[in-house]
């Protein structure tokens, strides 16, 4: 399993390090869920950690860090649209409130 991917792809070592970070962040997420002290700030913490994991997988495992910027555009625009739709609908239905 030693060796590297193609010239534009990360190395196997990078893949393994990214996996290690993903596992550690997941453990932190579950830890935050169970620690009562964090309950007041659990939403921003978990959303941030989740977004961090999402970006890591997309950048390194899906190779958007090194692939064409146009692929980032093709993926990023619908993703931002989806996030906007989720936020707008939650505001519209009163699940999310602006103070």
């Amino acid at each position: 399993m030693e060796g590297q991917g193609s010239g534009t792809h990360p190395t196997v070592g990078t893949y393994v390090r990214v996996f290690g970070i993903l596992v550690i962040v997941t453990i932190i997420e579950v830890g935050v869920f169970y620690v009562p002290t964090f309950q007041r700030v659990i939403v921003p913490i978990l959303l941030t950690l989740s977004a961090f994991k999402f970006v890591l997988v997309v950048m390194f495992y899906m190779h958007l860090k090194t692939d064409s910027r146009f692929f980032t555009f093709l993926f990023g625009v619908p993703l931002l649209l989806a996030v906007a739709v989720i936020g707008a609908l939650m505001l519209l239905f009163g699940v999310l409130k602006i103070a």
Partner: protein, 175 residues
């Protein structure tokens, strides 16, 4: 390029399902609530999918360097981890049904099963795709010039993984 456009459209599909779940999960007047969700089990499922993503990139790297033996091993391992995820999801769904949470029980049940079930269906498609590639690999068909075929399957598989990263946080941890 077309595959990235497809993945972009999938973002919108899951965006609509996630928003529907978030809007309706707290509006059930009877039946089980999100408190029923099993965090230890789904934490393991999350670890399982993350591990499968690592195996997928290792499979791609092996194909690119012409290492047929490890390409086949990692491809099957990825599919196997996907099957474990599906088995855990089947166990979770079955236990929920026994506790009274069904698709028709309440708004939480309807939106939860549609969202996680749609994700599970995507995992199933991914497992079939990976097993097909594994079959091709066993016949010696996964040469470095065919690496794009594995890369596309990998893109799909990692997308299924990132969707689960979002579902795990929004559905399970922020219940």
């Amino acid at each position: 390029m077309a595959f990235w456009a497809f993945i972009g459209s999938e973002c919108l599909l899951f965006g609509s399902l996630i928003s529907t779940y978030l809007i309706y999960k707290g509006r059930s007047t009877e039946g089980p609530t999100p408190e029923i969700l099993n965090i230890p089990l789904t934490s393991f499922s999350t670890f399982d999918l993350l591990m499968s993503s690592l195996m997928m990139v290792l499979a791609l790297a092996a194909v690119q360097r012409g290492d047929r033996k490890w390409a086949n091993i990692w491809l099957f391992a990825t599919a196997f981890m996907g099957m474990i995820f599906l088995g855990l999801q089947a166990y979770e769904f079955t236990s929920f049904v026994h506790e009274g949470l069904t698709l028709q029980a309440n708004l939480f049940g309807a939106t939860f099963f549609v969202l996680t079930g749609t994700h599970g269906a995507h995992v199933t498609v991914g497992v079939i795709w990976l097993l097909t590639l594994w079959g091709v690999g066993l016949k010696g068909g996964l040469t470095p010039d065919k690496a794009l075929n594995v890369e596309l399957a990998g893109l799909y598989w990692h997308f299924v993984d990132v969707v689960w990263i979002v579902i795990f946080t929004l559905v399970y941890l922020l219940r």
